[in-house]
């Protein structure tokens, strides 16, 4: 049974790669990347084992192992997306018991590229213990336990965060909380370190953290060999117990999560508003621009796929305040970094429509009207947000005289971004999570090239935004108020010009490319 599903999974991968040569290129790069990371990690481990004493190797093993596990839990949610080639939802129609489903999913997790890389790295961790034979013997089974823990943990977290897990609200909440936790991870770690530190330098603090982690489910499996090497058989036994209990508990928890998920499948709650509550559609003027504006703005305010980008933005000032203090250099520039994030969010805006783009295409609106509507929708949220961040951060840091410069740089970049994306979104569509799906779900068919296109769009924003950025940042650095106002003027004028040009060009383009974009969107594999 497991073998059948595994074969199927590799067949799916093979077919996808065979049909999309560029994805094959991306895949090869992925493998190369995994191999190089693996090489670096193994040599680092070998060096640690050969050069350091037991008192250093032990905490480092625990810290490395904990980081690995955290990476498995967090990485798929934030960076890589969750692989849904085989998931509980797809296996549901087959007559399989819950534990069979879980076994299959564990096996597919172990045999994916990350799973293989992790297994190799974990087994190779033996090289750290070469000088302590008893630890070598223990390290192999411990590595197996650790890898299993990683896979089970990631399955549990993805069940809870996507697909079947809980209801939509719950999923969105988990995602948002996770994002915030990640962003604050830096400050939190600093805080924890400060708590742990009774004694001096960073190195000692790290070692202390490692020792503590060895007692937690995160690092227990990695601490057992070290304890054995040091002859501490009692603590080794205790930690082994922790390490063995962890996958058991994860398995149990995952089973419960799957059960809950099948009992209360997603989309159970129908959200109903009062009839006649038209929202923005009652406010905007009739016509293509108004309609698109209302739709786009509704998306920006309600669609998790847009909101995900918006939520990060106000967190920048907080992070900078934590790390550099409000007197720091970066804090008043938070608005610029926020603008940087916002400016290319819509670079494949049509992708977010999905096949509903057909209804845009069925309507008699001109390409320009569509572009204006989308730009206005994005700007209605983005511009005020950036202005507020700029005013608040400069006011708090007591650098209000630099406000024009900050506004010049950030609005200059943001407006240019709207102009650039008005063109790029008429040319590029990429597979994105369907509306209502978890924004964290990975979508098959996202290619290496479409990933690279983000950088092309960013570069275009950078080039066109260069005048405003140059003047404004010079003004910011020198504190020259007049130059700051000039920067703001340049930013607004150039930005407005780029938007108009982008809308005209993008509008003309999408009238040509519209049907082809729809064909491409329809051809995307459904996630």
């Amino acid at each position: 049974m497991v073998a059948t599903v595994l074969k199927l999974r590799y067949r799916v991968l093979g077919n996808t790669l065979a049909r999309r040569p560029w994805q094959l290129v991306g895949f090869c790069f992925g493998i190369l990347w995994a191999l190089s990371i693996l090489g670096i990690v193994i040599s680092a481990m070998a060096a640690t084992g050969a050069l350091s004493g037991l008192e250093t190797v032990r905490p480092i093993a625990a810290i490395g192992g904990s980081a690995l596990l955290l990476g498995w839990v967090i990485g798929p949610l934030l960076v890589a997306g969750i692989d849904t080639t085989v998931d509980a939802e797809k296996l549901a129609p087959f007559p399989l018991s819950r534990s069979q489903v879980m076994t299959i999913l564990t096996a597919t997790g172990l045999t994916g590229i990350p799973g293989i890389a992790t297994s190799l790295a974990a087994l190779a961790s033996v090289v750290m213990w070469l000088r302590w034979p008893v630890a070598v013997v223990a390290a192999v089974p411990c590595a197996v336990i650790a890898v299993l823990t990683c896979v089970l943990a990631t399955r549990l977290s993805s069940t809870m965060s996507t697909g079947l897990g809980g209801n939509r609200r719950g999923r969105e909440l988990i995602g948002t909380v996770l994002l915030i936790v990640i962003i604050f991870a830096g400050p939190i770690i600093t805080g924890v370190l400060a708590l742990v530190s009774g004694a001096g330098n960073i190195g000692e603090q790290v070692l202390r953290v490692g020792t503590v982690l060895g007692w937690t489910p995160l690092g227990a499996a990695w601490a057992v060999p070290g304890d054995l090497a040091a002859g501490q058989y009692g603590t080794a036994a205790l930690k082994l117990l922790i390490a063995l209990a962890t996958p058991e508990l994860l398995w149990f928890g995952w089973g419960r999560a799957l059960d809950r998920a099948t009992v209360s499948p997603p989309r159970q709650t129908a959200r109903t508003v009062r009839a006649g509550a038209l929202g923005l559609f009652g406010v905007m003027p009739t016509g293509g621009v108004g309609a698109t504006w209302a739709r786009s703005l509704t998306g920006w305010l309600r669609d998790p796929r847009y909101l995900r980008q918006l939520i990060i933005v106000p967190l920048f000032p907080l992070v900078f305040a934590f790390t550099g203090g409000i007197q720091g250099f970066l804090f008043p520039l938070s608005a610029l970094l926020s603008a940087f994030i916002l400016c290319f969010v819509g670079y494949t805006d049509v992708s977010y429509d999905g096949t509903a783009f057909a209804s845009v295409l069925s309507s008699p609106i001109r390409g320009q009207e569509d572009r204006w509507g989308r730009v206005l929708g994005a700007a209605t949220v983005g511009v005020p947000l950036i202005i507020v961040i700029a005013v608040v951060t400069t006011a708090i840091s007591g650098t209000l005289e630099r406000l024009p410069a900050v506004l010049g740089a950030s609005l200059g970049l943001l407006l240019v971004g709207y102009g650039v994306t008005a063109v790029s979104s008429a040319l590029i569509v990429t597979p994105v999570a369907a509306p209502g799906d978890s924004p964290f779900k990975t979508v098959p068919g996202q290619t290496f090239v479409s990933g690279l296109l983000v950088f092309v769009v960013m570069a275009a924003c950078g080039v066109l935004g260069a005048p405003a950025l140059g003047v404004s940042l010079t003004a910011f650095g020198s504190g020259n108020v007049l130059l700051g106002w000039i920067g703001l003027a340049v930013g607004l004028v150039v930005g407005a010009g780029v938007i108009v040009a982008g809308v005209v060009l993008g509008g003309r383009t999408i009238e040509q490319t519209g049907p082809d974009l729809l064909v491409r969107i329809k051809a995307f594999p459904v996630g």
């Binding site: 509550a277 016509g287 049907p515």
Partner: protein
């Protein structure tokens, strides 16, 4: 002196579409007279949806042309699309909006004057029995309700030509009958409907014209009586398309 025929509501000439090696539509010609209720029937994969997509400006043909009331769909898409009410098959709606918002949005996209929008939306909600679900987001609708709201969207700007791809799929019989009545009075008042369907009974009952399409070609077209001759439309269709086999099904599937 010959009488000039009226400009067709929809005129397709030599439409061709190939996907890779596969010829989905291999030269479709069709004339839909104004005021007609035109049925487009064909087996699965015959090219009905592809044809209608090319006729409504959603899919660029490899060759051929489409005119709506004399306006070339691919040369003047905005003018043509303003006359078309399109219910496309196999595409989503903006289903994060409530039914009422979606209808209002569609009306705005077609520049229906603001003061007329709420009346039209309200009428359509009653017509489709969607009043109770007006404030529910479309993603939470059942398949039949989604079809009905999509149909309402196609009607909201009072188009001259209605292009409906599988409009009655999963719609309950009561709603279907109501919609049928509305469509009949719409054609009686001069509107044109072209509808694709698998249901021969429905086409024979509702349509005055029919085209049988298979493997990307029109096999027969004309008034329903012309096409079916002495036979029922179902029998005529099977005779044209072929592929009917009499069998009891495989042995292993039989329960006794």
């Amino acid at each position: 002196m010959t009488e000039t025929p009226p400009i067709p509501a929809l005129h397709l000439a030599g439409l061709v579409k190939t996907f890779g090696q596969k010829v989905a539509v291999g030269g479709v010609d069709l004339i839909v007279p104004p005021g007609s209720f035109y049925g487009l029937v064909g087996p699965n994969g015959a090219g009905k949806t592809t044809t209608l997509s090319m006729a409504t400006g959603l899919l660029r043909p490899d060759a051929g042309n489409a005119w709506v009331h004399g306006v070339n769909v691919w040369a003047e898409p905005q003018r043509a699309k303003a006359m078309i009410g399109n219910l496309a098959d196999g595409v989503r709606l903006f289903d994060r909006l409530t039914g009422e918002q979606l209808l209002t949005y569609t009306a705005m996209m077609f520049s229906v004057p603001r003061e007329e929008i709420s009346q039209r939306v309200s009428d359509l909600l009653d017509l489709m029995d969607l009043r109770a679900a007006a404030g529910t987001i479309v993603a939470d609708y059942s398949a039949g309700m989604t079809k009905k709201v999509a149909l309402a969207c196609a009607l909201v700007h009072a188009p001259r030509l209605l292009v409906l791809d599988e409009p009655f799929e999963s719609v309950d019989p009561v709603s279907a009958a109501n919609i049928e009545d509305v469509l009949r009075s719409y054609t009686a008042s001069g509107g044109t409907v072209i509808v694709s369907s698998h249901s021969m009974d429905l086409v024979q009952r509702m349509c005055d014209h029919v085209a049988v399409i298979a493997a990307g070609r029109v096999l027969a077209a004309g008034t329903v009586d012309e096409v079916r001759g002495e036979q029922s439309l179902q029998d005529r269709f099977v005779a044209l398309v072929g592929g009917r086999h009499t069998s009891e099904g495989p042995q292993w599937l039989r329960q006794s």
